[in-house]
Every structure is written in C-alpha cells, then in structure tokens.
C-alpha cells in the first residue's frame, strides 16, 4: 500500500491548517516586543486622533503626532504591563483565581486606555469627529480589555480560558478612526471678499467688547465716575449667560459670528506643533504629556499661539463690510491673522503685543499701534488707550459705519499680580474713565453704542444697547449678539442666526442673507510670531 505523493501533500496541507507540521515560531505567535510596539502604536494613533479631531487640528499632523507619541506611549504601556503583571501576581498570592486576576487586570488596562483617550479630548465639548475619535478610543479600550485578559491568561498558561479576539475590534477602531478623519471639518471654503448687492449702509454703530467688565463693576464705576460710564450703565441691558467657561477667543468669536464654537470653529488659543509643521493641534494637558511627551522639552514640539485660521463663519463686521459699511475693528479676540476684506483691523496680536506686520494689523492702522506702544504707560493702560485711539479715529469719519473695538485692559489688570480688591479697583478706574470718554465721543459722533461686558473674574456678563427693551433684564446667549448688531445696522441676519425671544427688535420672519464664508487671511503668521504671541498670552495669564 503506498499513497500517491499528492495524497500525502493534501494531508500535510490539512494538518498544517490545523496547527501541525509547523514549529511555534512560524505559526504566528509574536514576541513581547512586537506586541508592545503594535499596541503602543495603536494607542498613540487613537489618542492622536482624539486629540487632533477634538481640538480642531489639521489631519495632516496625525501621522507626525502619532510617531512622536509612539515612544512615550510605548514606555507607558511597558510600565503598565510590568505593573499589571506584578499586581496580578500579588492578587494570585492573595488567593484570587487566575481568571479573576486576568479579568481585573484587563478591566484596569481598559480603564487606563479609556482615561488616556478621554484625557486627550481636554474635557471640552468635542465636534463630531472628536466624538467619533472618542468612540474609536472606547472600542480600543474594549479591545485592550480582551487582549490584556488574554495576554495575562496566556502568561499564566491558561489560554483555553479565553477566545482569540476576533478582528472586529481592531476593524471597528480603524473604521471609527477613518470616519473621524473623513468627517468634513473645513465647512465652507474661504473665498475672496466681494460686496453684496441690494444692501445699503444706513447707520453708525459701535460695538464695544469689554473684557473684565461685569454689570456690577460698571454700576460701581458709574457711581464713581459718572459721565460716559454712567450713560453706559443706564443703557438697557440683558444678561449674557453660558459663556463663562469659554476662552476669550472662543467667546468673542461666538459673539462676532452669531454661532457657537461648534459652528465657527475657534475653540482654542494655542496649539502644539510637531517638528516645524505649519499646523498642529490643541492638546489637553494629558494629551500633551502623552503625545508631545519629551519632544516638547527639547523644543521639537513647541506650544504656539493658534491664529484663528480655522474660523468657518463670517463675523458681523465682515457681513457689514459686504453690505458696504466702512468697518474698523480693534483688538477683538480671534482677529489674528487679519482677513482680506474692505475694512481695517487691529488684531489682538497687534493690540496686545504691538505687532505691526501684515498679519497683525491693516496697514492704515499700523501707525496707531506704533504710537500707542511708544507710550510710557503699562501694557493694560496702553491697550485701553489704543482702543480709544481706534474709536476716535473711526468717529471722525462721517457717514454710516461700523466700529467694533475691544477693551481688554480691565481684564489684563485683573489677571496681573494678585492685589487687594481696592487696589485692583483703583487700577481699573482709569480704564473705566477712558471707556466713558469713548462712549461720550461715540454718542456725540452719532453712533448707536452696543456694549458686551465679560466679567471673566466674576459678576454678571451683559449686553447693553439702547434698542433693548428697558423693562426687565432678560437673558440671552452670546450667539444672539451678532444678529442684534446686524439689526442695529439695519441688515438682515444670516440664515443660521437666531434671536432671543422678547429681546430687542427680533424680526420674526424677516429676510435672511447668506453672507458667505469668511474672507481669507491677508497673510499667514510665521512661527516666530506664534511663539511670541503664546509667550505673551502665557505672561498675561490667558494660557497655562
């Protein structure tokens, strides 16, 4: 009896498929280090995905962040593995059953992964890609749970107590990650500015954005100073709510665009840029430890101020400009870099740092910035005086126009070195006096004055306007300020704007106009400018 060699070959093939005729090395068992490398790479990629998508970073930075984070995550995973094994041994010594120990270690590993991933979101309210990334992270945590349990059981030679994890877990992570990346994040494209037909400028409106001014401080200032401050305090006002946990750039862009951070896209003030890339991602503290790790200490992944390039909606001054209004903007948060539209802008970079480059200030206003920064006063006062100079310059121009100017001086005083309340009040009084002068000047110039006060250090946030109903002090969200400004300009609101019920002249059913996307930046800020701006923001206490 002899079998044909083909029959023997067939039997060999069948037995090979069933785990015979192959030594263990060739049957797919991977060693510890390849497994460690694989898992840490997957974890680094998921954390990066969550951090970048939650922070609105560029997808192109994903790969670099992942590679940068890989060594740190690998070390952490290695330590966790060793600690987990030691903890499991301890549990076994205390009498736990191996299956229980493996279950506990698997659960701990999953919680660790979930915390690491969640830490990378920054605890904010991530956009849809961020949620998808978070979903990918949770799937990864589940996968890690199963794999860790299996790993430990295999280490304990109890493989038969667990099933080999199927490929679905990793596949789901990949699919969720791909969806997060593919999610349309850029919104409308940024197109060159063009005027809209059919809209006619009619009024003179000034919008004052006062950081650090609460309703209570305004009332106290009015009592002490009278004049323009008292006029300001007597304006009908509404309580602004729901913005106190936002960053200044986020809040003031919400006010300017008439839509929340999810829609306008400006939610951070700084970002971590890997290896000289022109873009990066805003990382939460834990995300920075995990992803930037040691690279940031050697300067390869610096934290830089984030220019507001990611804004997806036009501001009310850009809308007014398209309607033909001459526009002047001063120091409003989120105006850096200056955009290409028919208006003049002093960005927050120019107002706070005196920068006069093209990305920081419109050329006609550069001299104002230079003059202000040549003054001997301390920075907060200099900033307020610059705001006054911008307002004065605008007020001199006749005819309909829009002025939007920020006064962060009060807030800068409060963010400075700790001082007794009375001393702080004394330092803030000159700012209020200047603000009063500005209001008086604007009123004399025929401006309708609207004021938003953001009490960052406490107190009531408010929006004041002569057009508000004077009876009760209603509450309105910050998104409703922009349509009210447009109403003051006698311009239609944008389709996505909403008016708070019972506030001002809410034109129900009034026509809406699509003002299009925001205009493109006049020039891109360079890395040095971003570095200097971040240092400034840190020194002023806006970022940690």
């Amino acid at each position: 009896m002899s079998a044909p060699s083909s029959e023997l070959a067939r039997v060999r093939e069948i037995l090979r498929a069933r785990g015979y005729l192959a030594p263990p090395g060739s049957s797919g068992t991977r060693g510890f280090w390849p497994r460690l490398a694989g898992w840490s790479l997957l974890l680094a990629a998921t954390c990066t995905l969550v951090a970048v998508s939650a922070g609105g970073g560029a997808a192109a930075s994903l790969l670099l962040f992942t590679l940068a984070a890989w060594p740190t995550v690998a070390v952490l995973v290695f330590l966790a593995t060793r600690l987990g094994t030691a903890a499991a041994a301890r549990l076994l010594a205390w009498g736990a059953r191996p299956e229980q120990a493996a279950l506990a270690m698997g659960a701990l590993a999953a919680v660790g992964v979930a915390l690491a991933v969640a830490g990378c979101t920054g605890g904010g309210d991530p956009r849809p890609p961020g949620w998808l990334g978070l979903g990918a992270g949770l799937l990864l945590a589940l996968h890690v749970f199963r794999a860790s349990r299996r790993e430990l059981l295999t280490t304990l030679h109890l493989e038969e107590h667990c099933r080999t994890p199927g490929p679905w877990g990793a596949a789901a992570v990949v699919v969720a990650g791909a969806l997060a990346l593919a999610w349309p994040s850029s919104g409308k494209p940024q197109l060159p500015w063009a005027p809209l037909s059919g809209l006619v400028p009619k009024t003179r409106v000034a919008v004052l954005a006062v950081d650090g001014l609460s309703r209570e401080e305004l009332a106290a200032g009015a009592h002490l100073l009278g004049g323009g401050v008292e006029v300001l305090a007597r304006l009908p006002w509404a309580r602004v709510e729901g913005a106190d946990r936002q960053l200044p750039a986020e809040f003031w862009t919400t006010v300017a665009c008439g839509a929340g951070p999810r829609e306008h896209g400006v939610a951070v003030m700084e970002e971590t840029r890997p290896f000289g890339l022109p873009y990066g991602a805003a990382l939460a503290p834990w995300g920075r430890v995990l992803l930037a790790g040691p690279w940031q200490w050697v300067g390869l992944m610096p934290r830089l101020a984030k220019p507001s390039l990611q804004r997806r909606l036009p501001t009310f001054w850009e809308m007014a400009s398209r309607a033909g209004y001459p526009v002047t903007v001063g120091g409003w948060w989120g105006t850096w870099p200056v955009r290409l539209f028919a208006g003049q802008v002093v960005s927050e970079r120019a107002m706070l740092a005196g920068a006069t480059t093209q990305d920081a200030v419109s050329p006609p206003l550069a001299s104002l910035v230079e003059e202000s920064f040549a003054r001997p006063e301390p920075l907060p006062l200099r900033v307020t005086l610059l705001g006054e100079a911008i307002a004065k310059r605008a007020a001199r121009r006749p005819g309909p126009q829009l002025l939007a100017v920020a006064f962060p001086g009060l807030d800068l005083e409060a963010r400075g070195a700790a001082q007794p309340p009375l001393a702080l009040a004394a330092r803030q009084l000159p700012h209020l006096a200047i603000l009063g002068r500005v209001v008086e000047g604007l009123l004399e110039g025929g401006f309708q004055v609207l004021v938003v006060g953001a009490g960052w250090q406490g107190g009531t946030w408010f929006f004041a306007s002569s057009k508000l109903a004077a009876a009760a002090n209603p509450t309105l969200p910050p998104e409703t300020v922009a349509p009210l400004v447009l109403a003051a300009l006698e311009l239609p609101a944008a389709p996505y704007h909403r008016f708070p019920p019972g506030v001002g002249n809410a034109p129900l059913g009034a026509p809406r106009t699509d003002y299009g996307p925001p205009p493109p930046p006049a020039s891109l800020p360079d890395r040095e400018a971003a570095r200097l701006q971040r240092e400034l923001l840190e020194s002023l206490g806006y970022v940690q």
Binding site: S2, A3, L8, P23, P98
Partner: protein
C-alpha cells in the same frame, strides 16, 4: 497498571520537567495520576462495546481476565483516584497554588476529551472518513494527553510563555505522530512486539492514516511530524535534549 506498557505520558511529563529543572521525584505523583487516567481509558477502550480488544500490554484485557463489570468499576476507580490525588500531587510538584485547582480541572477536562475522542473513534468504524475527522479523534485521544503531560512538566519547572508554546507544539506533533505510528504498527507489527492483536483496526473496519496514505505514506507523515516536534524544541536549546530523546524512542516504534 503493572504490566507496564510504554509509560509515554508520565515519561513525557518527567522529561519536560527535567528540561526546565523540575525534580523527577517531586513530579512522580502527578505523573502517576496521568498514568492512572491513561490506564482507565485503556480498560474502557478494550471493552466489547468499544474496541473489543482481547490483549492489552501482552496480557488478556481486564474485562476478559475478570469481568466487564469489574473492568468498568476498575476504570472508574482509577479515574477517581487520579482526580482526587492530582491537586496535591501538583502542589508537591511545585506548581504554584493558584494553578493547582485550574490544572486539576484541566485533567477532568482531559477525561472528557478522551471520552469525546473515543466516541469519535467508534463513529469512524465502517464509514468513509476525512483526514480532518481522523485528526480530531487522534487529537482528542492522544494529542490532548501528550500536551497536558508535557505542559504540566514544563509548568512545574517554571517554563515561560514562549517555552510553553514550544513544548505544546512539540507535544501536539509528537502526539499525532505517535497515533500515526500506532496505526502503522496495527498493520505491520506482531502482537508480541505491540502487546495488541495485529490488524485490530482493519477487522473493526476503522479507517486510519494507513487507510488514507498507505503504510509508506503514514510512515513518512509520522517522520515529518516527529521532525516538526523536534524543530519545536530548537528555541529551548541543548536543555531540551531529554525531550529529543523521547522522540528518538517514539521513532524506534516505527
């Protein structure tokens, strides 16, 4: 128990333990438990309702020497003794306490696997069979036992995860090789050498690897499986020499 037989399973356990430095004296009680289980399975296999074998280890099968009832009871007694003594035997062998209970459960599971294998073996008689079915029966009847024996020895010696995988691959291939050799010996060996009647499988109409591949093909397959088992020991280096010698012994049966 005492006519001997080849004592492959306990020997495998002791040799695996030796590779990793476990004391043979400490391992002996656990190895004896394995042999008790194996003997019980042989007594049951030989019953008329199963393989109906007249000879075992060169002597009349137990049910012929005494009675079927006695044979069945003896098999149960052997199993009970083995399962009862095993946890303590493991502890004495130096197996960590956390594992003793679990590996005792594994021995009980092995008994269940042996039953499944025997049931599969009975189902093979007189039917067309696939290689997959043959492998399943052999893996359940012999491979699982070899794996458990070798892994227990390694575990008692403190083998690591990768070494354990080597030992398991070694035992899996060696177990199937041994079964294929057993198929060959059923055709070519005289009862004096094998201790079993010749042509027993053919008389029962049981398909074997010889049926599928012929004697030469089955021999060739057995040699390849043994070579794979030997190659599985390579990562363990020279320390694995006792297990390689075990393979040499199995090779001599061909």
């Amino acid at each position: 128990m005492f006519p001997g037989g080849k004592r492959l399973r306990p020997r495998l356990m002791l040799l695996a333990g030796q590779v990793f430095g476990a004391s043979p004296q400490a391992l002996s009680p656990a190895a004896a438990c394995l042999e008790l289980v194996h003997c019980a399975s042989l007594v049951l296999d030989d019953l008329p309702c199963m393989d109906d074998a007249p000879l075992r280890r060169g002597q009349p099968a137990l049910h012929l020497r005494f009675s079927q009832a006695t044979a069945i009871l003896a098999a149960f007694a052997l199993l009970a003794k083995a399962l009862a003594a095993f946890p303590q035997a493991l502890a004495r062998a130096g197996v960590p306490p956390a594992f003793c209970e679990l590996w005792s459960v594994r021995l009980a599971q092995l008994v269940e696997t042996l039953c499944r294998g025997q049931q599969g073996d009975l189902g093979l008689a007189g039917s067309a069979v696939t290689v997959e079915q043959l492998e399943e029966v052999h893996a359940a009847k012999t491979g699982a036992f070899f794996e458990l024996a070798a892994q227990l020895g390694a575990l008692a010696g403190g083998a690591g995860r990768e070494a354990m995988a080597c030992v398991a691959a070694f035992a899996r291939n060696a177990g199937l090789a041994y079964q294929v050799i057993d198929d060959v010996r059923d055709v070519v060996c005289d009862p004096a050498g094998s201790g079993k009647p010749q042509g027993q499988d053919a008389r029962a109409g049981k398909p074997t690897f010889v049926t599928v591949l012929g004697v030469a093909g089955a021999r060739q397959l057995a040699l390849e499986l043994l070579a794979t088992a030997e190659a599985s020991l390579a990562p363990l280096g020279a320390a694995a020499r006792p297990l390689a010698e075990f393979l040499d012994h199995v090779r001599t049966l061909l």
